[in-house]
Protein backbone atom coordinates (compact mmCIF):
# COMPACT_ATOMS: atom_id res chain seq x y z
CA UNK A 1 0.00 0.00 0.00
CA UNK A 2 1.17 3.53 -0.70
CA UNK A 3 0.17 6.66 1.15
CA UNK A 4 2.72 9.12 -0.26
CA UNK A 5 4.85 9.64 -3.35
CA UNK A 6 7.80 8.29 -1.39
CA UNK A 7 6.02 5.04 -0.50
CA UNK A 8 4.72 4.70 -4.07
CA UNK A 9 8.27 4.94 -5.41
CA UNK A 10 9.43 2.47 -2.75
CA UNK A 11 6.77 -0.05 -3.83
CA UNK A 12 7.88 0.44 -7.40
CA UNK A 13 11.50 -0.33 -6.49
CA UNK A 14 10.50 -3.29 -4.36
CA UNK A 15 8.38 -4.95 -7.04
CA UNK A 16 10.50 -3.96 -9.99
CA UNK A 17 7.33 -3.28 -12.03
CA UNK A 18 6.60 -0.15 -14.03
CA UNK A 19 4.86 2.51 -11.93
CA UNK A 20 1.56 2.16 -13.82
CA UNK A 21 1.49 -1.53 -12.96
CA UNK A 22 2.03 -0.85 -9.26
CA UNK A 23 -0.91 1.59 -9.31
CA UNK A 24 -2.99 -1.02 -11.14
CA UNK A 25 -2.16 -3.75 -8.62
CA UNK A 26 -2.95 -1.49 -5.68
CA UNK A 27 -6.26 -0.41 -7.22
CA UNK A 28 -7.26 -4.03 -7.82
CA UNK A 29 -6.55 -4.78 -4.15
CA UNK A 30 -8.50 -1.72 -2.98
CA UNK A 31 -11.58 -2.08 -5.19
CA UNK A 32 -11.67 -5.86 -5.46
CA UNK A 33 -12.00 -5.73 -9.25
CA UNK A 34 -10.17 -7.80 -11.83
CA UNK A 35 -7.47 -6.44 -14.09
CA UNK A 36 -9.84 -6.72 -17.06
CA UNK A 37 -12.66 -4.86 -15.28
CA UNK A 38 -10.36 -2.06 -14.23
CA UNK A 39 -8.84 -1.80 -17.69
CA UNK A 40 -12.33 -1.57 -19.18
CA UNK A 41 -13.34 1.20 -16.75
CA UNK A 42 -10.20 3.16 -17.63
CA UNK A 43 -10.91 2.64 -21.31
CA UNK A 44 -14.45 4.04 -20.88
CA UNK A 45 -13.15 7.06 -19.01
CA UNK A 46 -10.52 7.77 -21.63
CA UNK A 47 -13.21 7.46 -24.28
CA UNK A 48 -15.18 10.25 -22.56
CA UNK A 49 -12.01 12.33 -22.20
CA UNK A 50 -11.12 12.01 -25.85
CA UNK A 51 -14.63 12.82 -27.02
CA UNK A 52 -14.67 16.01 -24.92
CA UNK A 53 -11.19 17.01 -26.20
CA UNK A 54 -12.45 16.85 -29.82
CA UNK A 55 -16.08 17.93 -29.51
CA UNK A 56 -15.73 21.74 -29.52
CA UNK A 57 -12.79 21.89 -31.97
CA UNK A 58 -15.03 22.49 -34.98
CA UNK A 59 -18.24 23.85 -33.42
CA UNK A 60 -18.97 26.58 -30.87
CA UNK A 61 -21.02 25.26 -27.95
CA UNK A 62 -23.52 27.48 -26.12
CA UNK A 63 -22.68 28.17 -22.47
CA UNK A 64 -24.43 30.28 -19.80
CA UNK A 65 -23.68 33.89 -20.81
CA UNK A 66 -21.60 32.45 -23.67
CA UNK A 67 -18.42 33.58 -21.88
CA UNK A 68 -16.26 30.96 -23.64
CA UNK A 69 -18.38 29.81 -26.58
CA UNK A 70 -16.20 29.19 -29.61
CA UNK A 71 -12.79 29.58 -27.95
CA UNK A 72 -11.75 26.01 -28.80
CA UNK A 73 -12.75 26.31 -32.46
CA UNK A 74 -10.89 29.59 -32.84
CA UNK A 75 -7.78 28.20 -31.20
CA UNK A 76 -7.87 24.98 -33.19
CA UNK A 77 -8.00 26.98 -36.44
CA UNK A 78 -4.99 29.00 -35.23
CA UNK A 79 -3.15 25.80 -34.26
CA UNK A 80 -3.65 24.30 -37.72
CA UNK A 81 -2.11 27.36 -39.41
CA UNK A 82 1.14 26.16 -37.86
CA UNK A 83 2.85 29.49 -37.25
CA UNK A 84 1.85 29.94 -33.58
CA UNK A 85 4.56 31.04 -31.16
CA UNK A 86 4.30 27.83 -29.14
CA UNK A 87 4.30 25.61 -32.21
CA UNK A 88 1.46 23.57 -33.68
CA UNK A 89 1.68 20.73 -31.13
CA UNK A 90 1.31 22.92 -28.05
CA UNK A 91 -1.38 25.01 -29.70
CA UNK A 92 -3.31 21.87 -30.60
CA UNK A 93 -3.02 20.72 -26.96
CA UNK A 94 -4.34 24.11 -25.79
CA UNK A 95 -7.26 23.87 -28.22
CA UNK A 96 -8.19 20.44 -26.85
CA UNK A 97 -8.02 21.67 -23.25
CA UNK A 98 -10.32 24.55 -24.24
CA UNK A 99 -12.66 22.08 -25.93
CA UNK A 100 -13.09 20.10 -22.70
CA UNK A 101 -13.80 23.31 -20.76
CA UNK A 102 -16.35 24.37 -23.37
CA UNK A 103 -18.07 20.98 -23.32
CA UNK A 104 -18.22 21.11 -19.52
CA UNK A 105 -19.68 24.63 -19.46
CA UNK A 106 -22.28 23.67 -22.08
CA UNK A 107 -23.58 20.83 -19.88
CA UNK A 108 -21.93 18.19 -22.02
CA UNK A 109 -20.36 14.93 -20.85
CA UNK A 110 -16.88 15.10 -19.32
CA UNK A 111 -14.67 13.04 -17.04
CA UNK A 112 -13.57 14.98 -13.94
CA UNK A 113 -9.76 14.69 -13.65
CA UNK A 114 -9.48 15.45 -10.78
CA UNK A 115 -12.42 17.89 -10.96
CA UNK A 116 -14.93 19.13 -13.53
CA UNK A 117 -13.33 22.60 -13.54
CA UNK A 118 -9.94 21.08 -14.45
CA UNK A 119 -11.32 18.42 -16.81
CA UNK A 120 -9.34 19.60 -19.88
CA UNK A 121 -5.73 19.22 -18.77
CA UNK A 122 -5.18 15.47 -18.60
CA UNK A 123 -7.24 14.74 -21.77
CA UNK A 124 -5.41 17.45 -23.76
CA UNK A 125 -1.99 16.06 -22.81
CA UNK A 126 -2.91 12.39 -23.36
CA UNK A 127 -4.84 12.89 -26.62
CA UNK A 128 -2.21 15.36 -27.86
CA UNK A 129 0.59 12.84 -27.33
CA UNK A 130 -1.48 9.99 -28.75
CA UNK A 131 -2.03 12.02 -31.95
CA UNK A 132 1.57 13.18 -32.23
CA UNK A 133 3.24 9.81 -31.57
CA UNK A 134 0.51 7.48 -32.83
CA UNK A 135 0.36 5.74 -29.44
CA UNK A 136 -1.91 2.76 -28.76
CA UNK A 137 -4.82 3.24 -26.38
CA UNK A 138 -3.28 0.66 -24.02
CA UNK A 139 -0.17 2.84 -23.75
CA UNK A 140 -2.38 5.86 -23.00
CA UNK A 141 -4.18 3.89 -20.28
CA UNK A 142 -0.81 3.24 -18.64
CA UNK A 143 -0.35 7.01 -18.55
CA UNK A 144 -3.84 7.34 -17.07
CA UNK A 145 -2.85 4.93 -14.29
CA UNK A 146 0.30 6.94 -13.52
CA UNK A 147 -1.81 10.12 -13.37
CA UNK A 148 -4.38 8.38 -11.16
CA UNK A 149 -1.76 7.20 -8.67
CA UNK A 150 -0.30 10.70 -8.34
CA UNK A 151 -3.81 12.21 -8.04
CA UNK A 152 -4.80 9.70 -5.36
CA UNK A 153 -1.79 10.61 -3.21
CA UNK A 154 -2.55 14.34 -3.53
CA UNK A 155 -6.26 13.77 -2.78
CA UNK A 156 -5.28 11.82 0.32
CA UNK A 157 -2.57 14.14 1.66
CA UNK A 158 -3.76 17.53 0.43
CA UNK A 159 -6.88 18.56 -1.50
CA UNK A 160 -8.20 18.78 -5.06
CA UNK A 161 -11.12 21.08 -4.20
CA UNK A 162 -10.97 24.69 -5.38
CA UNK A 163 -13.13 25.73 -2.43
CA UNK A 164 -10.44 24.37 -0.12
CA UNK A 165 -7.15 24.93 -1.94
CA UNK A 166 -7.77 27.35 -4.82
CA UNK A 167 -7.06 26.70 -8.51
CA UNK A 168 -3.61 25.27 -7.70
CA UNK A 169 -5.47 22.33 -6.12
CA UNK A 170 -7.62 21.73 -9.19
CA UNK A 171 -5.77 22.78 -12.36
CA UNK A 172 -2.37 22.60 -10.62
CA UNK A 173 -2.93 19.02 -9.50
CA UNK A 174 -4.27 18.11 -12.94
CA UNK A 175 -1.01 19.47 -14.41
CA UNK A 176 1.04 17.41 -11.92
CA UNK A 177 -0.90 14.27 -12.85
CA UNK A 178 -0.63 14.96 -16.58
CA UNK A 179 3.07 15.84 -16.28
CA UNK A 180 3.84 12.46 -14.71
CA UNK A 181 1.77 10.71 -17.38
CA UNK A 182 3.61 12.60 -20.13
CA UNK A 183 6.98 11.48 -18.75
CA UNK A 184 5.75 7.88 -18.87
CA UNK A 185 4.58 8.26 -22.47
CA UNK A 186 8.06 9.61 -23.32
CA UNK A 187 9.52 6.47 -21.69
CA UNK A 188 11.03 8.44 -18.81
CA UNK A 189 11.97 7.05 -15.40
CA UNK A 190 9.93 7.02 -12.19
CA UNK A 191 12.25 9.71 -10.76
CA UNK A 192 11.52 11.89 -13.78
CA UNK A 193 7.77 11.41 -13.28
CA UNK A 194 8.10 12.51 -9.66
CA UNK A 195 10.22 15.51 -10.67
CA UNK A 196 7.56 16.54 -13.21
CA UNK A 197 4.98 16.47 -10.38
CA UNK A 198 7.21 18.78 -8.32
CA UNK A 199 7.79 21.27 -11.14
CA UNK A 200 4.13 21.42 -12.19
CA UNK A 201 3.07 22.24 -8.62
CA UNK A 202 5.93 24.72 -8.08
CA UNK A 203 4.94 26.53 -11.27
CA UNK A 204 1.37 26.98 -10.08
CA UNK A 205 1.85 27.45 -6.33
CA UNK A 206 -0.68 29.93 -4.95
CA UNK A 207 -2.98 30.15 -7.96
CA UNK A 208 -6.39 31.35 -6.78
CA UNK A 209 -9.86 30.12 -7.76
CA UNK A 210 -11.78 33.19 -8.98
CA UNK A 211 -14.47 32.26 -11.52
CA UNK A 212 -16.45 35.14 -13.02
CA UNK A 213 -20.09 34.97 -11.87
CA UNK A 214 -19.22 31.68 -10.15
CA UNK A 215 -19.40 30.00 -13.57
CA UNK A 216 -16.82 27.41 -14.57
CA UNK A 217 -15.75 29.41 -17.65
CA UNK A 218 -13.42 32.40 -17.09
CA UNK A 219 -10.61 32.12 -16.13
CA UNK A 220 -11.10 28.34 -15.89
CA UNK A 221 -10.82 27.72 -19.65
CA UNK A 222 -7.62 29.79 -19.87
CA UNK A 223 -6.20 27.91 -16.86
CA UNK A 224 -6.98 24.55 -18.49
CA UNK A 225 -5.01 25.63 -21.56
CA UNK A 226 -2.09 27.06 -19.57
CA UNK A 227 -1.89 24.13 -17.15
CA UNK A 228 -1.87 21.61 -20.01
CA UNK A 229 1.22 23.45 -21.24
CA UNK A 230 2.58 23.53 -17.68
CA UNK A 231 2.26 19.73 -17.57
CA UNK A 232 4.27 19.34 -20.77
CA UNK A 233 6.97 21.86 -19.90
CA UNK A 234 7.35 20.32 -16.42
CA UNK A 235 7.71 16.90 -18.05
CA UNK A 236 10.34 18.31 -20.40
CA UNK A 237 12.27 19.91 -17.52
CA UNK A 238 12.33 16.52 -15.79
CA UNK A 239 13.17 14.53 -18.93
CA UNK A 240 16.05 16.92 -19.69
CA UNK A 241 17.56 16.02 -16.33
CA UNK A 242 16.50 18.76 -13.92
CA UNK A 243 15.99 17.40 -10.43
CA UNK A 244 13.71 18.85 -7.78
CA UNK A 245 15.68 19.87 -4.70
CA UNK A 246 12.45 19.55 -2.67
CA UNK A 247 10.90 16.07 -2.29
CA UNK A 248 7.49 15.68 -3.96
CA UNK A 249 5.60 14.96 -0.74
CA UNK A 250 6.90 18.23 0.72
CA UNK A 251 5.90 20.16 -2.41
CA UNK A 252 2.40 18.65 -2.10
CA UNK A 253 2.24 19.63 1.57
CA UNK A 254 3.35 23.16 0.68
CA UNK A 255 0.55 23.41 -1.89
CA UNK A 256 -1.94 22.28 0.74
CA UNK A 257 -0.67 24.81 3.28
CA UNK A 258 -0.77 27.62 0.76
CA UNK A 259 -4.37 26.66 -0.02
CA UNK A 260 -5.25 26.88 3.67
CA UNK A 261 -3.68 30.35 3.84
CA UNK A 262 -5.77 31.66 0.96
CA UNK A 263 -8.62 33.91 2.12
CA UNK A 264 -12.10 32.62 1.41
CA UNK A 265 -12.60 35.27 -1.29
CA UNK A 266 -9.98 33.46 -3.38
CA UNK A 267 -11.43 29.97 -3.01
CA UNK A 268 -14.29 29.52 -5.48
CA UNK A 269 -16.63 32.06 -3.92
CA UNK A 270 -16.65 34.45 -6.89
CA UNK A 271 -15.68 37.30 -4.53
CA UNK A 272 -12.01 37.85 -5.34
CA UNK A 273 -9.49 37.96 -8.16
CA UNK A 274 -10.84 38.09 -11.73
CA UNK A 275 -14.40 37.50 -10.44
CA UNK A 276 -14.23 40.63 -8.30
CA UNK A 277 -13.11 42.99 -11.08
CA UNK A 278 -15.53 45.72 -12.12
CA UNK A 279 -16.33 43.92 -15.38
CA UNK A 280 -16.54 40.55 -13.64
CA UNK A 281 -19.16 41.89 -11.23
CA UNK A 282 -21.05 43.54 -14.10
CA UNK A 283 -21.27 40.21 -15.95
CA UNK A 284 -22.45 38.44 -12.82
CA UNK A 285 -25.11 41.07 -12.16
CA UNK A 286 -26.38 41.04 -15.76
CA UNK A 287 -26.70 37.25 -15.72
CA UNK A 288 -28.34 36.73 -12.36
CA UNK A 289 -30.18 39.97 -11.57
CA UNK A 290 -31.23 41.27 -15.01
CA UNK A 291 -34.40 42.93 -13.67
CA UNK A 292 -32.56 45.24 -11.23
Amino acid sequence: MYTSIESLVALDKERGHPLWQVVLEEEMALSGVSREQLWEQLRQRYHVMRASAYRALDQALPTVGNLISGVAKTHNAYASQGNGLCGSFLNRVMAMALSCSEVNASMGKICAAPTAGSCGILPAVLVGLQERDNLSTDTILEGLLVAGGIGAVITRNATVAGAEGGCQAECGVAAAMAGAAAVHLQKGTVEQMVNAVCFALMNVMGLVCDPVAGLVQVPCAQRNASQAVNALLSADLALAGMQSIIPADQVIEAMYRVGKMLPEQLRETGQGGIAATEKGREISHALFHPQE
Binding site: V103, K109, G148, A152, G214
Partner: protein, 237 residues
Protein backbone atom coordinates in the same frame (compact mmCIF):
# COMPACT_ATOMS: atom_id res chain seq x y z
CA UNK B 1 -4.00 3.61 -0.61
CA UNK B 2 -7.61 4.12 0.47
CA UNK B 3 -8.41 6.55 -2.36
CA UNK B 4 -9.52 4.86 -5.57
CA UNK B 5 -7.95 6.20 -8.76
CA UNK B 6 -11.44 5.96 -10.26
CA UNK B 7 -12.55 8.68 -7.85
CA UNK B 8 -9.62 10.84 -9.00
CA UNK B 9 -10.21 10.07 -12.69
CA UNK B 10 -13.92 10.71 -12.45
CA UNK B 11 -16.81 10.85 -12.12
CA UNK B 12 -17.94 10.81 -15.73
CA UNK B 13 -20.65 13.44 -15.55
CA UNK B 14 -22.57 16.24 -17.20
CA UNK B 15 -20.89 19.59 -16.49
CA UNK B 16 -20.29 22.13 -15.27
CA UNK B 17 -20.09 21.28 -11.57
CA UNK B 18 -19.77 18.01 -9.67
CA UNK B 19 -21.56 19.50 -6.66
CA UNK B 20 -24.12 21.76 -8.36
CA UNK B 21 -24.94 19.63 -11.42
CA UNK B 22 -23.96 15.96 -10.97
CA UNK B 23 -24.69 15.92 -7.23
CA UNK B 24 -28.03 17.67 -7.72
CA UNK B 25 -29.12 15.16 -10.37
CA UNK B 26 -28.13 12.25 -8.15
CA UNK B 27 -29.99 13.72 -5.14
CA UNK B 28 -33.19 14.05 -7.12
CA UNK B 29 -32.83 10.56 -8.61
CA UNK B 30 -32.33 9.16 -5.09
CA UNK B 31 -35.44 11.02 -3.87
CA UNK B 32 -37.44 9.62 -6.80
CA UNK B 33 -36.41 6.09 -5.80
CA UNK B 34 -37.30 6.67 -2.15
CA UNK B 35 -40.73 8.07 -3.09
CA UNK B 36 -41.26 5.00 -5.26
CA UNK B 37 -44.80 5.94 -6.39
CA UNK B 38 -46.02 8.04 -9.35
CA UNK B 39 -46.09 11.80 -8.83
CA UNK B 40 -47.34 14.65 -11.02
CA UNK B 41 -45.50 17.64 -9.58
CA UNK B 42 -42.30 18.35 -7.64
CA UNK B 43 -41.48 21.54 -5.72
CA UNK B 44 -37.78 22.18 -5.17
CA UNK B 45 -36.90 24.50 -2.29
CA UNK B 46 -33.25 25.53 -2.67
CA UNK B 47 -31.01 26.54 0.22
CA UNK B 48 -27.65 28.32 0.48
CA UNK B 49 -25.30 28.07 -2.49
CA UNK B 50 -27.93 26.06 -4.40
CA UNK B 51 -30.32 29.04 -4.08
CA UNK B 52 -27.61 31.57 -5.03
CA UNK B 53 -26.11 29.92 -8.11
CA UNK B 54 -28.57 27.32 -9.35
CA UNK B 55 -29.19 28.92 -12.73
CA UNK B 56 -25.52 29.28 -13.64
CA UNK B 57 -24.73 25.65 -12.93
CA UNK B 58 -27.86 24.07 -14.35
CA UNK B 59 -28.84 22.84 -10.88
CA UNK B 60 -32.50 23.31 -11.82
CA UNK B 61 -32.19 21.20 -15.00
CA UNK B 62 -30.21 18.58 -13.08
CA UNK B 63 -32.86 18.29 -10.36
CA UNK B 64 -35.67 17.84 -12.88
CA UNK B 65 -33.55 15.28 -14.77
CA UNK B 66 -33.02 13.38 -11.53
CA UNK B 67 -36.71 13.12 -10.65
CA UNK B 68 -37.28 11.83 -14.20
CA UNK B 69 -34.75 9.11 -13.44
CA UNK B 70 -31.96 10.34 -15.72
CA UNK B 71 -28.46 9.48 -14.58
CA UNK B 72 -25.79 12.09 -13.84
CA UNK B 73 -23.90 11.29 -17.06
CA UNK B 74 -26.94 11.40 -19.36
CA UNK B 75 -26.68 14.22 -21.90
CA UNK B 76 -30.46 14.56 -22.01
CA UNK B 77 -30.02 16.28 -18.63
CA UNK B 78 -29.97 19.71 -20.25
CA UNK B 79 -33.28 19.01 -22.04
CA UNK B 80 -34.95 17.88 -18.82
CA UNK B 81 -37.53 20.70 -18.70
CA UNK B 82 -38.83 19.68 -22.12
CA UNK B 83 -38.76 15.98 -21.20
CA UNK B 84 -40.75 16.74 -18.04
CA UNK B 85 -43.37 18.64 -20.03
CA UNK B 86 -43.71 15.71 -22.43
CA UNK B 87 -44.04 13.35 -19.46
CA UNK B 88 -46.73 15.56 -17.90
CA UNK B 89 -44.60 16.31 -14.86
CA UNK B 90 -44.94 19.77 -13.29
CA UNK B 91 -42.11 21.39 -11.34
CA UNK B 92 -41.32 24.66 -9.57
CA UNK B 93 -38.38 26.24 -7.74
CA UNK B 94 -38.28 28.44 -4.66
CA UNK B 95 -35.43 29.80 -2.56
CA UNK B 96 -35.56 28.97 1.11
CA UNK B 97 -33.56 29.16 4.32
CA UNK B 98 -33.43 25.75 6.00
CA UNK B 99 -31.24 27.04 8.84
CA UNK B 100 -27.97 25.43 9.84
CA UNK B 101 -27.66 22.85 7.06
CA UNK B 102 -25.09 22.18 4.30
CA UNK B 103 -24.68 25.01 1.73
CA UNK B 104 -25.92 22.80 -1.11
CA UNK B 105 -29.22 21.57 0.23
CA UNK B 106 -32.56 21.05 -1.48
CA UNK B 107 -35.95 20.11 -0.05
CA UNK B 108 -38.10 18.24 -2.57
CA UNK B 109 -41.86 17.92 -2.17
CA UNK B 110 -43.43 15.24 -4.37
CA UNK B 111 -47.16 15.49 -5.12
CA UNK B 112 -48.40 11.93 -5.51
CA UNK B 113 -50.78 10.53 -8.07
CA UNK B 114 -51.13 10.49 -11.84
CA UNK B 115 -52.54 14.02 -11.74
CA UNK B 116 -54.40 16.18 -9.27
CA UNK B 117 -54.66 19.34 -7.26
CA UNK B 118 -51.55 20.62 -5.46
CA UNK B 119 -53.70 21.74 -2.54
CA UNK B 120 -55.19 18.32 -1.87
CA UNK B 121 -52.74 15.75 -3.27
CA UNK B 122 -50.84 13.62 -0.77
CA UNK B 123 -47.15 14.57 -0.58
CA UNK B 124 -43.77 13.10 0.32
CA UNK B 125 -40.89 15.30 1.38
CA UNK B 126 -37.21 14.43 0.89
CA UNK B 127 -34.32 16.66 1.90
CA UNK B 128 -30.71 16.16 0.89
CA UNK B 129 -27.32 17.79 0.37
CA UNK B 130 -24.72 17.63 -2.38
CA UNK B 131 -21.36 17.22 -0.66
CA UNK B 132 -19.01 17.72 -3.64
CA UNK B 133 -17.43 15.35 -6.15
CA UNK B 134 -20.91 14.01 -6.93
CA UNK B 135 -21.38 12.57 -3.43
CA UNK B 136 -24.76 13.09 -1.75
CA UNK B 137 -26.43 12.77 1.65
CA UNK B 138 -30.19 12.33 2.15
CA UNK B 139 -30.84 14.03 5.50
CA UNK B 140 -34.59 13.84 5.93
CA UNK B 141 -37.43 11.61 4.70
CA UNK B 142 -40.81 13.13 5.56
CA UNK B 143 -40.57 13.74 9.33
CA UNK B 144 -37.57 11.44 9.91
CA UNK B 145 -34.04 12.81 10.22
CA UNK B 146 -31.63 10.37 8.63
CA UNK B 147 -28.24 10.03 6.93
CA UNK B 148 -28.19 8.06 3.69
CA UNK B 149 -25.30 8.25 1.21
CA UNK B 150 -26.55 5.55 -1.19
CA UNK B 151 -22.91 4.69 -1.94
CA UNK B 152 -23.86 1.11 -1.04
CA UNK B 153 -27.13 -0.73 -1.76
CA UNK B 154 -29.56 0.41 0.92
CA UNK B 155 -32.70 -0.99 2.53
CA UNK B 156 -35.22 1.44 3.98
CA UNK B 157 -37.74 0.17 6.51
CA UNK B 158 -40.58 2.06 8.24
CA UNK B 159 -41.86 0.27 11.30
CA UNK B 160 -43.72 0.67 14.57
CA UNK B 161 -41.25 1.59 17.27
CA UNK B 162 -41.62 -1.57 19.37
CA UNK B 163 -39.09 -3.93 20.97
CA UNK B 164 -37.92 -6.75 18.71
CA UNK B 165 -38.96 -5.26 15.37
CA UNK B 166 -35.44 -4.32 14.31
CA UNK B 167 -33.97 -7.65 15.34
CA UNK B 168 -36.62 -9.49 13.33
CA UNK B 169 -35.61 -7.46 10.25
CA UNK B 170 -31.91 -8.16 10.74
CA UNK B 171 -32.73 -11.84 11.36
CA UNK B 172 -34.37 -12.07 7.93
CA UNK B 173 -31.29 -10.51 6.35
CA UNK B 174 -28.90 -12.76 8.28
CA UNK B 175 -30.94 -15.80 7.30
CA UNK B 176 -30.65 -14.78 3.62
CA UNK B 177 -26.89 -14.32 3.87
CA UNK B 178 -27.02 -10.53 3.53
CA UNK B 179 -24.23 -8.73 5.36
CA UNK B 180 -25.14 -5.38 6.96
CA UNK B 181 -22.45 -2.67 6.70
CA UNK B 182 -24.13 0.07 8.74
CA UNK B 183 -27.52 0.58 10.35
CA UNK B 184 -29.22 3.76 11.48
CA UNK B 185 -32.58 4.12 13.23
CA UNK B 186 -34.50 7.35 13.75
CA UNK B 187 -37.98 7.87 15.13
CA UNK B 188 -40.61 10.54 15.46
CA UNK B 189 -41.34 9.83 19.12
CA UNK B 190 -40.81 6.86 21.42
CA UNK B 191 -43.26 4.07 20.76
CA UNK B 192 -44.63 5.57 17.55
CA UNK B 193 -42.92 5.26 14.15
CA UNK B 194 -39.31 4.49 13.34
CA UNK B 195 -37.26 4.65 10.15
CA UNK B 196 -34.46 2.15 9.76
CA UNK B 197 -31.70 2.54 7.15
CA UNK B 198 -29.49 -0.46 6.45
CA UNK B 199 -26.46 -0.32 4.16
CA UNK B 200 -25.62 -3.72 2.79
CA UNK B 201 -22.73 -5.22 0.86
CA UNK B 202 -24.58 -6.29 -2.29
CA UNK B 203 -28.06 -5.72 -3.80
CA UNK B 204 -30.78 -7.90 -2.30
CA UNK B 205 -33.29 -10.09 -4.05
CA UNK B 206 -36.84 -8.73 -4.27
CA UNK B 207 -38.16 -11.71 -2.33
CA UNK B 208 -36.22 -10.64 0.78
CA UNK B 209 -37.90 -7.22 0.72
CA UNK B 210 -41.28 -8.94 0.31
CA UNK B 211 -40.47 -11.09 3.37
CA UNK B 212 -39.71 -7.99 5.47
CA UNK B 213 -42.89 -6.27 4.25
CA UNK B 214 -44.99 -9.24 5.34
CA UNK B 215 -43.71 -9.16 8.91
CA UNK B 216 -45.85 -7.74 11.75
CA UNK B 217 -45.36 -4.06 12.70
CA UNK B 218 -43.62 -3.27 9.40
CA UNK B 219 -45.35 -0.44 7.52
CA UNK B 220 -43.06 -0.26 4.53
CA UNK B 221 -39.81 -1.70 3.19
CA UNK B 222 -37.87 -0.96 0.04
CA UNK B 223 -34.45 -1.52 -1.52
CA UNK B 224 -32.56 1.31 -3.19
CA UNK B 225 -29.61 0.67 -5.49
CA UNK B 226 -28.43 3.75 -7.41
CA UNK B 227 -25.99 1.85 -9.62
CA UNK B 228 -28.29 -0.96 -10.68
CA UNK B 229 -31.17 1.29 -11.66
CA UNK B 230 -32.31 1.36 -15.28
CA UNK B 231 -30.66 4.21 -17.13
CA UNK B 232 -33.74 5.20 -19.08
CA UNK B 233 -36.20 7.76 -17.75
CA UNK B 234 -39.74 6.70 -17.08
CA UNK B 235 -42.86 8.57 -18.06
CA UNK B 236 -45.16 9.42 -15.22
CA UNK B 237 -48.24 8.42 -17.20
Amino acid sequence: MEISILDVLGPVMIGPSSSHTAGAAKLARAARQIVGNPFFHVKFALHGSFAETYRGHGTDQALVAGVLGLREDDERLRESFELARKAGLGFSFTRTDLGDVHQNTVQMTFYLGESGDLATAPTRQIRGSSLGGGRILITRIDSFDTEITLEAPTILVMQKDLPGVISSVTAVLAHSGVNIGTMRVSRTARGKLACCVLEIDSPVDRSIIEKIRAMPNILHAQAIAMEEEETQYVHQH
